[in-house]
């Protein structure tokens, strides 16, 4: 049974990972972060990306889509940003956020690993 720290430590070992965060998407608070640095403030990224998730959830409601978001991929020139929504019984609006270096990352692998981390965290 993983806690948030081990989950994040595992996330940062994903090939090409720059930083990762576990975020409460209602409040925009990062419950935990790993990596990042001066040029990449993960708490700012966490707060900002809650708007991305909220906006997509809202759009799906407007479209009448009865479905759930598994993950959201944002592709930059040099990075991938991966948002994985957590589905556990208690994860009332949590998501895992992972920033990857595009040159070093294997996107398919990273998605798979992030899914596994989510399952292990099991909140």
């Amino acid at each position: 049974m993983a806690n948030t720290e081990t989950a994040l430590k595992e996330a940062i070992t994903i090939e090409g990972a720059i930083g990762a965060a576990l975020v409460d998407y209602t409040s925009g608070m990062a419950l935990g972060t790993i990596g990042g640095g001066k040029e990449f403030d993960l708490t700012v990224a966490a707060a900002g990306n809650t708007d991305v998730v909220r906006s997509k959830v809202r759009t799906m409601e407007h479209l009448g889509l009865k479905d759930e978001i598994e993950d959201i991929l944002i592709t930059l020139g040099t990075q991938y940003h991966l948002i994985r929504l957590m589905k556990g019984r208690g994860s009332n609006g949590l998501f895992l956020y992972l920033a990857l270096d595009k040159d070093r990352a294997n996107l398919a692998m990273a998605r798979h690993q992030l899914k596994k981390i989510e399952a292990e965290l099991d909140v």
């Binding site: 209602t26 208690g90 965290l121």
Partner: protein
């Protein structure tokens, strides 16, 4: 109305520097420190961790009661719940952090009366994951800024939630509808948060969003009552708890069970 840009509580930062252990009591809540780090927080305006844990049936109320009875005296309630397999490790951490920051937001509300500190007091929930005091203060400030960026009228935070007649196109999200269903003209956002078992801040944020969208009324009268202050006895507890007396009480209670 808006948060002061200055430090939320200079005393908190000073206590963090001197690595103090004890409880910081302000008008709208209390922060528990261990070695200068925040280990727990409570506020009458925020649902306690037991509400968040038992909401939605994640933990049976009896399970919580049992944990308090068996591990409360040795201040290991959280540990007990995890070790007995009732709450997963990660779940406990996330729930505890949620409760901590939620209560801290109210406890650190700007200008909320005098601040007192009792050295040596520990909370019975026990060690989960300590948070640096600066991080708690920063998060409380961020939250205040976020609320004001959504709808800069803090009156809606403490007034009873009242729906506005619809007809102007705005629709509530499912999450917001849950809150609106409980808006009976008496319940405040804090009371609604407790009823649905969600953090009070999350509810405030939704309420401000709904106020901005015209779905709920923003009271024109700013003279609304403050959220319930902490009962006076909280600050009056003895510096030296009478351990012997507490032990005798516990033994007597256990014997009578």
């Amino acid at each position: 109305m808006t948060a002061a840009p200055t430090a939320v509580s200079p005393m908190l930062l000073r206590l963090a520097e001197e690595r103090a252990t004890g409880v910081l009591v302000r008008d709208h809540g209390a922060l528990y420190l261990a070695d200068g780090q925040v280990v727990h927080a409570e506020s009458p305006a925020a649902p306690g961790i037991e509400v968040l844990l038992t909401a939605g049936g994640r933990l049976a109320p009896e399970g919580w009661q049992e944990a308090v009875t068996r591990a409360g005296a040795r201040r290991e309630v959280a540990r007990f719940l995890v070790d007995s397999g009732q709450v997963a490790d990660g779940e406990m951490e996330i729930c505890h952090l949620g409760a901590l920051h939620d209560a801290a937001f109210f406890a650190l509300a700007p200008g909320s009366g005098p601040t007192r500190f009792r050295y040596g007091v520990a909370h019975w929930i026990g060690a989960v994951r300590p948070v640096p005091a600066v991080a708690v203060a920063r998060e409380a400030r961020r939250r205040r800024g976020l609320l004001d960026s959504v709808w800069p009228h803090s009156e809606v935070d403490t007034a009873p939630l009242r729906c506005r007649p619809s007809g102007h196109g705005a629709t509530a999200t499912p999450r917001q509808r849950t809150l609106l269903e409980l808006a009976d003209g008496v319940r405040t956002p804090s009371a609604i948060a407790r009823a649905v078992g969600r953090p009070a801040f999350n509810t405030l944020l939704e309420v401000r969003r709904m106020a901005a969208a015209g779905l709920v009324e923003t009271p024109s009268d700013p003279a609304v009552p403050d959220p319930a202050p902490l009962p006076a006895w909280v600050a009056d507890f003895a510096v030296d708890p009478d351990i012997a007396l507490l032990r005798r009480l516990r033994d007597a209670l256990e014997a009578s069970l």
